[in-house]
């Protein structure tokens, strides 16, 4: 039973999560002749299965799973960080090389050795302790967002396309696959925004896409340069046969272990500075940090409810994920060298966005600006290169995804379909409940103890104070302004007179509320899965000091 049915799914969970929505999109395309009900059912089954698989993935991930082979131990360390891996050759080939070998007795022998040659681009997927949470958040929020829009077959297929792209972005362990999935995500969002939203979306969507695409291109340039530079500059017996490595784990392991040495090392030092800035700009641009936030705020304000949830909850965080996946592990010294500048700029940017949110009078603009501020604070924690800062940063992203999703879900929607439902006169929820839920979301965002936002607010200062007092002060001031802004905004109740509350709304709100409370009450479940992967991002000296404590189970393994 286990081997025949469960194991094929269990061992390839990321692949299933990637393929399931693609399969669903195909079925939706076929089923569109069967009517809207068939499409709705297909979507529901697909989303439910995806959510179930993502929960399974989170539960099944073993943060301290030891590596089996000695070769992997030498390359990637004693803990199997990337799990549930699948790899399929895409571009590139394996050639048979003839090597001449001299025996002890002096005889010469020609042997055939398989050697990877050329660009080794693969469809490689897998997850670590960081990406599982982004995968779970993506699946959850896309399910929430898509559940509000089952009208058109094209939009249903687009939602599934978006889910596949997002999951692919976070599970990809190949540079090319990562970039392709990321850009694909933007196309799906553009498609969905074109389908619905207010009249301003025609101006806002191109602005959103342009910035993200520029960022994507810069990232492509940076990662391509990284692959080329690493492939050509590292020592290899026969340079003509050096493969270009696109695998993210191998790239990280090779660079961290100082694979480039000798003459090439000096060259590498001068090259990686350029690559570093390409990646930094490429990943930071799509974060829409203040004062470069206008495009995101306009797009968020004009997007339909579902797209707004995905925009704020997941899509904006791909840039931060890029920092975690590429910038921090590949260039720790450069991050540390520019750490003070980064933290100061990020702190000022977050504070600026928070003050702008304070002056905003519209709920959507408030959420958008507070989101920019929150993302900046997450990155601020991560650039401290401390375990507390990294943990707090990722927890803040998760918390923000849940609270922003809940808040956007609760706001009245101007979409024609929802207004039509209101006119049909279904059961209206009493405003008291809505007010209470909005207040709950705001408190979770502010960081009321026991709710999700509190964990990040509690943990991050530990890292910030270790790094620099100014960064900590800016972060705390920003959190204070955001909290104050939400307390004042809470008086400005949204107008729900044109919307209704359905059982589906109750279910979605209950799920998000439960997760908010769960993350606030039992954060150790998340932290335990996350910490080994975060530890591997730290520079060597800090990694050693962080694991010296007896309280961390990772230390025992190491």
């Amino acid at each position: 039973m286990w081997d025949t049915l469960v194991r094929p799914i269990h061992d390839h969970l990321p692949l299933w999560l990637l393929l399931l929505p693609i399969l669903g999109a195909v079925i939706v395309g076929v089923a569109k002749q069967a009517g809207a009900e068939a499409i709705r059912r297909t979507m529901q089954v697909n989303l439910c299965l995806s959510v179930a698989l993502s929960v399974w993935l989170v539960v099944a991930y073993e943060p301290l799973k030891p590596v089996d082979s000695a070769e992997q131990v030498a390359l990637l360390g004693p803990i199997e960080r990337f799990q549930f891996r699948d790899s399929f050759a895409w571009v590139g080939e394996t050639r048979i090389a003839l090597l001449e070998r001299t025996r002890r007795n002096g005889d010469r022998q020609v042997v055939k050795v398989p050697i990877r040659w050329g660009p080794d681009i693969r469809c490689e997927v897998g997850v670590d302790g960081i990406s599982i949470w982004f995968v779970a958040l993506s699946v959850l929020l896309v399910a929430v967002a898509a559940s509000s829009d089952f009208r058109l077959p094209t939009s249903s297929a687009a939602w599934l396309w978006l889910q596949a792209s997002l999951v692919g972005t976070f599970v990809s362990l190949d540079v090319v696959l990562f970039v392709v999935c990321w850009v694909s995500t933007l196309l799906a969002v553009a498609w969905l925004m074109g389908q619905a939203g207010d009249s301003q979306r025609h101006d806002a969507t191109p602005r959103l896409l342009k910035r993200c695409w520029w960022g994507g291109w810069l990232v492509m340039l940076g990662l391509g340069g990284l692959v080329l530079a690493f492939g050509w500059l590292r020592p290899f017996p026969n340079r003509m046969e050096t493969p270009l490595i696109f695998s993210i784990p191998e790239l990280m392991a090779g660079i961290r272990q100082g694979a480039i040495s000798g003459e090439s090392a000096l060259l590498w030092v001068s090259v990686n500075n350029w690559l570093f800035w390409l990646l930094v700009v490429g990943f930071t641009g799509p974060l829409w940090l203040a004062p470069f936030h206008h495009g995101f705020v306009a797009a968020f304000a004009s997007a339909p409810r579902g797209v707004a949830i995905v925009l704020a909850g997941v899509l904006l965080k791909v840039g931060v994920y890029g920092w975690l996946r590429f910038v921090l592990p590949l260039f720790p010294e450069l991050v540390r060298q520019h750490g003070d500048g980064f933290t100061t700029l990020l702190g000022l940017s977050s504070l600026f966005a928070a003050v702008l949110a304070f002056g905003a009078s519209d709920w959507r603009r408030r959420i958008a600006l507070a989101t920019c501020s929150s993302v900046g604070l997450s990155l601020l924690g991560m650039t401290t290169l401390t375990l507390e800062g990294l943990t707090g940063g990722v927890l803040r992203l998760l918390s923000h995804g849940l609270t922003a999703g809940l808040l956007v879900w609760l706001l009245p929607s101007e979409e024609p379909s929802l207004a039509r439902r209101a006119s049909e006169g279904s059961d209206a929820m009493t405003p008291r409940w809505r007010v209470g839920l909005v207040r709950f979301a705001l408190f979770a965002w502010i960081g009321l103890p026991g709710l999700s936002g509190f964990v990040a607010e509690f943990v991050t200062p530990f890292g910030l104070f270790q790094h620099e007092f100014n960064a900590a002060a800016l972060s705390l001031a920003t959190s204070g302004v955001i909290a104050w802004m939400w307390v004042r905004a809470e008086r400005d109740r949204p107008d729900w007179s044109h919307t209704v509350w359905s059982p589906r709304d109750t279910f979605v709100a209950a799920v998000l509320v439960t997760l908010n409370i769960g993350l606030g009450v039992a954060p150790q479940f998340v932290v335990d899965r996350m910490q080994p992967s975060l530890l591997s991002l730290l520079p060597m000296d800090r990694e050693t000091s962080a694991t010296s404590s007896e309280t961390l189970p990772v230390a025992e393994v190491r």
Binding site: L221, H294, G359, F458, V459
Partner: protein, 650 residues
């Protein structure tokens, strides 16, 4: 035994949570059922507290700590949720349970029960917290939920919630300093004498000062008396106030109706000091605030941070000054109130000021007497406020009511022994033995005054306050009787036997406090010293002024008026808050938004169009961000980079 202990801890913490959960069914279940469930939960918590105090008694009377769960473990720190139970926590939980039972007996139908239950959970959490983090959570939760009790239907403004954040921030700063200097530990156990002794004196003073500010905000002491709700100030009139503060505890302009001064004041549109009974908080809510949530939890925090206050001599003297002047101010305000709830509210806060004074004493037994006094007075005041609430519902009337109120006055006066005990210790502190005096004079200076001079001023303030307390209580009784005589007394119900029993118990309790918590014999009335004559003088004064219709009250009001108005004009805090913080933040936020949209947004657009203009029309697709151009640029960039790398490698 361990299982039993765990069960009792679970019952103590779980009872409020269970009651809170069930209270969400208010409106669907019968109100009487919910009230009975809540009472049952309170009784369970009370019994569990009693059982725990016996089961968890340690031989060396040190607090017993239980770890419940590990909330978060990081390499540098860990937070474990647990319970810390000692004698002080037992008394606090008992007080809260008793007050809650009394409050529930008269809980108004228009106030939601769930906030009361949540506030109870917060108070329990703060009292039994195993570490500073838990304590802060309980502290904030109790304040928030308690303040929600005053929210009026359809009114977005919350009177107390926002103001309480002042004390939250101060306490948070104190906790932050503790955390930074105690190896990132939030545990109480880390406060060993050696660890505290290793700190610099100014750090200890800073911690104590932050905690003191937090407690001042929570206990409505000067100058953070703003949650003693004031009338609408300038900020509120302009629509920008953080709240519309009702006037239940501060009182109204003390001019009886019909007086020409009252007519003039009420006809003046610029005068904001008018009666606002419709905005007032109901007496049971007031009883909860004063006697179970705000004041006891605040004082409990001072007690928890005692290791710091013992060393922080300057902050301790500041605490004494704050308490003494609050005592005076509240006593004078009480003398100008027209309703029982307002008088009792002022007196409670004033008594809290007296406890501040006692906690500043160097004698430990003085602190114990003061805390005992406060706890007894809390129960007495709860009974009076709850009884007052019942009177409002006209369950009693006429002579019966006057009799009950007279007994209540005597009951309140039973605290005289406790106040005298504190007063005697203050006297000793003000005029100490020669050897002690010399060291105190040289060691402590507060705002240029020596410690002993401050203590002498405190003696004077305590004496004046005692006179005003008895005066205000008797005056309120006469005032109430005068109002009642104008009404028909159609129903003559007998007062509940429980009230008589409680009054008797409280009177005996007052005597017990006078003997410093020991039943060593009958209290010696002749040891009352200076307070008895002062109290008697106040009563005689009130009798003279109010027992018969005369013009004396009006004259007295005219004399007291300026001071009452001065002390009540605390609205400047509201105005200052608005003018210094809210208004600049709003203006800067709006200005920055304008700057962001107009200057930055237009600037970028202008720059782009200029660039387009200067480059010519051929570059338009590049500026517009065509996908084709972008893709070609990317590919060419990759090619250039590859060529550069090859060149460098060669």
């Amino acid at each position: 035994m361990d299982t039993l202990r765990t069960f009792m801890i679970g019952a103590l913490v779980g009872a409020p949570l269970l009651a809170w959960g069930l209270s969400w069914l208010e409106g669907q279940l019968s109100r009487q059922v919910l009230l009975n469930v809540a009472r049952g939960a309170v009784i369970v918590a009370l019994l569990s507290g009693c059982g725990l105090s016996f089961a968890a008694r340690s031989p060396d009377s040190s607090p017993v700590e239980f770890a419940i769960m590990s909330w978060l473990r990081m390499p540098g720190f860990g937070v474990t949720l647990g319970v810390r139970f000692d004698g002080f926590a037992f008394v606090q939980t008992t007080l809260v349970s008793v007050v809650l039972l009394l409050v529930l007996s008269a809980w108004p139908a228009e106030v939601a029960l769930r906030w009361l239950m949540l506030a109870w959970f917060g108070v329990t959490l703060a009292i039994m917290a195993g570490n500073l983090g838990q304590m802060f959570v309980g502290w904030t939760l109790s304040a928030w939920a308690s303040s929600e009790l005053a929210r009026k239907p359809g009114n977005n403004l919350r009177p107390v919630w926002l103001v309480q954040r002042v004390s939250d921030f101060a306490l948070l700063a104190g906790i932050g300093i503790v955390w930074m200097h105690f190896n990132s530990s939030l545990e109480f156990a880390a406060w060993t004498p050696a660890a505290i002794g290793a700190l610099r004196p100014e750090l200890i003073e800073s911690i104590a000062l932050c905690v003191l500010i937090g407690v001042i905000g929570r206990c409505a002491q000067l100058p953070l008396t703003i949650w003693l709700e004031t009338e609408v100030g300038f900020a509120a009139q302009t629509g920008n106030s953080m709240m519309k503060l009702s006037d239940v505890m501060v009182g109204v302009w003390n001019v009886p109706d019909g007086h020409q001064v009252a007519k003039r004041l009420k006809s003046d549109p610029a005068n904001r000091w008018h009666s606002a009974d419709e905005d007032s908080v109901s007496p049971p809510v007031l009883a909860w605030w004063l006697c179970a949530a705000y004041l006891p939890v605040g004082l409990g925090l001072l007690f928890r941070f005692e290791p710091f206050f013992v060393v922080a001599s300057h902050t301790r003297l500041l605490m004494v000054a704050v308490g003494a002047f609050t005592l005076l101010m509240c006593s004078m305000n009480a003398a100008s109130q027209n309703t029982w709830s307002q008088v009792l509210g002022q007196l409670t806060v004033g008594q809290c000021g007296l406890v501040f004074v006692a906690l500043g004493l160097e004698h430990r037994h003085g602190q114990a007497s003061a805390l005992l006094l406060f706890w007894w007075q809390s129960v007495i005041l709860t009974v009076l406020l709850v009884a007052n609430s019942e009177f409002r519902r006209s369950q009693f009337s006429g002579q019966r009511r006057s009799a009950v109120l007279l007994i209540a006055v005597l009951c309140l006066a039973s605290g005289l022994w406790g106040r005298q005990a504190v007063s005697n210790l203050v006297w000793e502190q003000a005029w100490p033995a020669e050897s002690v005096a010399g060291s105190a004079e040289t060691a402590s200076l507060v705002f240029g005054a020596t410690a002993s001079r401050l203590w002498r001023i405190v003696v004077g303030l305590v004496c004046v306050s005692e006179l005003l307390v008895s005066f205000s209580v008797l005056r309120a009784w006469f005032h109430d009787r005068r109002q009642q005589s104008q009404q028909d007394s159609e129903r003559l119900d007998s007062p509940p036997w429980g009230l008589w029993l409680t009054v008797t118990a409280m009177s005996l309790g007052g005597l017990w406090i006078g003997n410093e918590g020991k039943f060593t014999g009958p209290p010696n009335l002749f040891q009352l010293g200076n307070l008895l004559p002062l109290s008697a003088a106040g009563m005689v004064l009130a009798w003279w002024m109010y027992s018969k219709p005369s013009s004396l009250p009006e004259k007295f009001s005219a004399v007291m008026g300026p001071f009452a108005r001065l002390s009540r004009n605390r609205f400047y805090w509201d105005d200052l808050y608005f003018l210094l913080i809210v208004h600049p933040a709003k203006v800067s936020g709006e200005w920055l938004r304008w700057f962001d949209e107009r200057v930055l947004g237009n600037g970028v657009r202008t720059l782009r169009s200029r660039l387009l203009h200067s480059l010519g029309e051929s570059a338009e697709p590049l500026v517009a961000g065509s996908a084709m151009i972008g893709a070609l640029t990317t590919l060419s960039s990759v090619a250039v980079l590859a060529w550069m790398l090859l060149w460098l490698r060669s």
